[in-house]
């Protein structure tokens, strides 16, 4: 895999995933027609049938959904890589350490307040999810740490335990509420079925800040792999760097969760696959996990839409059913490489 530029490979993968996501659905749009519509848009032409219908499906349904899934996948992949580096633990991901569940709890709490369905009403949900995810990080850290280190077992136990607690509370809140129940259930099943560009535009500033900061943190994460003490001896202001990365990853997770529900495994698997194929340098690993996460979630979403069409599977089921065997296969092939 090292013969090709990692970025080219990842971007090619993402492009294929985008094309599939745009083309496939209850109505199949042939690639040739996609091209014609694109050229038509550039020339500001008016379309005749069937292109007119296709163009409508694209702008109002396929493209916003593709954009939201892409952003969600990027957030999960990127924050997963950051959590793994931050906790120096190959099992850390937004799902397993409870951050995603905490964000979900925050999001549902915000939804149970009857905000008007407006731009600012939408904005409140990611903020609440962000607070939920940060509180979870600090709680799990406080429960799991021994001195300055966080033993794997403690981290997973605390994360899974709090995650279950938060999920249970989320379910309870959803069952109790009446008015916004529909919205919450849609959300839990992968809120990307929410139509239109509103969610995409709402989530964008959070992700820009969160993922932007993560993309700048590659070198700091590299240094943190030596442990806090050595990192500081090499000149890293450890506390500041840790806090920044933690906030950025939690912001990205929260933004993703608040519009797309809780989707496991992307944040765990994508960074590992990228690490196996392209090495452990976080300056490369972070952007690759972002791109890879976006592509992987898009593919999972395509499968979720088409397997039982017209019914949709929750995308989290697909990420687990397809992602886990694939991951185990990759892991098996890479045995004894000591890649972590």
């Amino acid at each position: 895999m090292r013969r090709f530029s990692p970025y080219l490979l990842a971007l090619a993968f993402l492009l294929i995933a985008i094309l599939l996501s745009v083309a496939i659905g209850s109505v199949f749009i042939p690639p040739a027609d996609l091209g014609r519509i694109l050229i038509g848009w550039l020339n500001r032409a008016t379309f005749s049938e069937p292109l007119k219908t296709f163009a409508f499906i694209l702008t109002d349904i396929r493209l916003p959904r593709t954009a939201l899934v892409l952003l969600t996948g990027a957030a999960l992949g990127g924050s997963g890589a950051a959590y793994q580096g931050l906790f120096r633990n190959p099992l850390a991901d937004p799902y397993l350490i409870g951050v995603a569940s905490g964000a979900g709890l925050g999001a549902v709490l915000a939804m149970s307040v009857k905000w008007p369905y407006s731009f600012w009403g939408l904005m409140a949900v990611p903020v609440a999810a962000f607070i939920g995810s940060l509180l979870t990080v600090f709680l799990v850290y406080a429960l799991a740490h021994v001195g300055k280190t966080i033993p794997t077992t403690n981290l997973i136990l605390a994360g899974v335990a709090f995650g279950s607690f938060a999920t249970a509370l989320t379910t309870y809140l959803m069952l109790r509420s009446t008015g916004e129940l529909h919205r919450a259930i849609t959300w839990l099943n992968g809120g990307s079925s929410q139509a239109g560009w509103g969610p995409v535009l709402t989530v964008l500033p959070y992700l820009a800040i969160g993922l932007g900061n993560l993309l700048l943190s590659g070198h700091a994460l590299n240094l943190l792999q030596y442990g806090d003490e050595q990192a500081q001896q090499m000149g890293l202001p450890v506390t500041r760097a840790r806090t920044l990365i933690l906030m950025a990853a939690s912001l990205a997770t929260a933004a993703a969760v608040s519009f797309s529900g809780i989707i496991g495994f992307i944040g765990l698997i994508v960074p590992h696959v990228m690490r196996l194929w392209f090495g452990a340098d976080y300056r490369r690993l972070l952007p690759l996990s972002l791109i890879g996460g976006a592509g992987a979630l898009l593919l999972a979403d395509v499968i979720a839409r088409s397997v039982m069409a017209p019914q949709e599977l929750p995308v989290g089921i697909v990420t687990a059913l397809v992602g886990v065997p694939f991951f185990l296969w990759v892991l098996r092939r890479a045995k004894n490489q000591g890649y972590w």
């Binding site: 070198h219 590299n222 030596y226």
Partner: protein
């Protein structure tokens, strides 16, 4: 030159270092010896600024005529004045040797860690100095303990600091690597005019490669001086609770410490 004045360090309520004063001149190797738990590692960590100091001063005049308080520097500034070779440390195994040594350039890089041609030249030179240039492309996890320790030394050298601290760097090495590692350290100190403080378990390595020796027992400096002055039967047997004999090394003009056994200690 590195000056440590009246340094005291506590872990919680337990006093680990009491009133430690020590100086390390540029161009000399000072070996820090003493039994387990005497506070050798604590002293190295305190000087490197990773644990809080209760009282005392650590300063250096290597940059300017006036001395600089090392404890008041930011991590980045401090990492330009002193580098640490940790105790056979856990290094992330997936990085290559080249990537690892370049990390030593951190105090001179921006937050993104972009390296210049100059940084690469310095890293290459550091690898040459420890005779590990041919390992560049290897992953750290594939290396032997002796090779890993050399890479750690190269990483510290890449920091281009006038002061070098080493925390029991030879404790996991075999005989050959112990000797060659200390030979390298001693040559670097003398040739590049580095102030080197090295915590050592092995008294005979200290005798052979240190210009001066400091004996640390129960958090206090009991003696400092040349190996001959410090490695005496009286000082060593009291410090280690073990009778020892000190003879002249058969082919190096240094003392050689030969331990007795604990049974005869009880008789004393």
């Amino acid at each position: 030159m590195l000056y440590i004045e009246n340094l005291s360090v506590s872990y919680g309520t337990r006093r680990v270092l009491t009133d430690v004063s020590l100086e390390v001149n540029s161009g000399e190797v000072v070996a820090l010896i003493g039994p387990n738990g005497a506070g050798k590692s604590t002293l190295v960590r305190a000087i490197s600024g990773v644990i809080p100091v209760e009282s005392g001063r650590i300063h250096s005049n290597v940059f300017s005529r006036s001395s600089v308080n090392l404890l008041s520097l930011s991590p980045m500034q401090r990492a330009r004045s002193l580098a640490v070779v940790p105790q056979s440390a856990s290094m992330p195994p997936a990085f290559t040797v080249w990537e690892t040594v370049l990390m030593g350039r951190t105090p001179y890089l921006n937050f993104l860690g972009q390296v210049s041609a100059k940084d690469e030249a310095i890293a290459r030179l550091a690898l040459q100095k420890v005779d590990a240039l041919d390992l560049s492309e290897r992953r750290v996890g594939e290396l032997s303990g002796g090779e890993q320790q050399r890479v750690l030394l190269a990483r510290a050298l890449a920091q281009s600091t006038p002061i070098l601290l080493l925390d029991e760097p030879t404790s996991n090495l075999d005989l050959h690597y112990q000797v060659s590692f200390m030979e390298t350290v001693s040559a670097l100190a003398h040739r590049d005019n580095l102030a080197v403080l090295v915590a050592l378990h092995d008294l005979n390595l200290a005798a052979r490669y240190a210009d001066r020796v400091a004996l640390l027992v129960d958090g206090e400096i009991k003696a400092t001086g040349t190996p001959r002055q410090v490695l005496t039967p009286e000082l060593i047997s009291t410090a280690y609770h073990l009778p020892v004999q000190v003879i002249l090394h058969p082919f190096a003009d240094v003392p050689l410490v030969i331990p007795g056994n604990t049974a005869s200690c009880k008789k004393l």
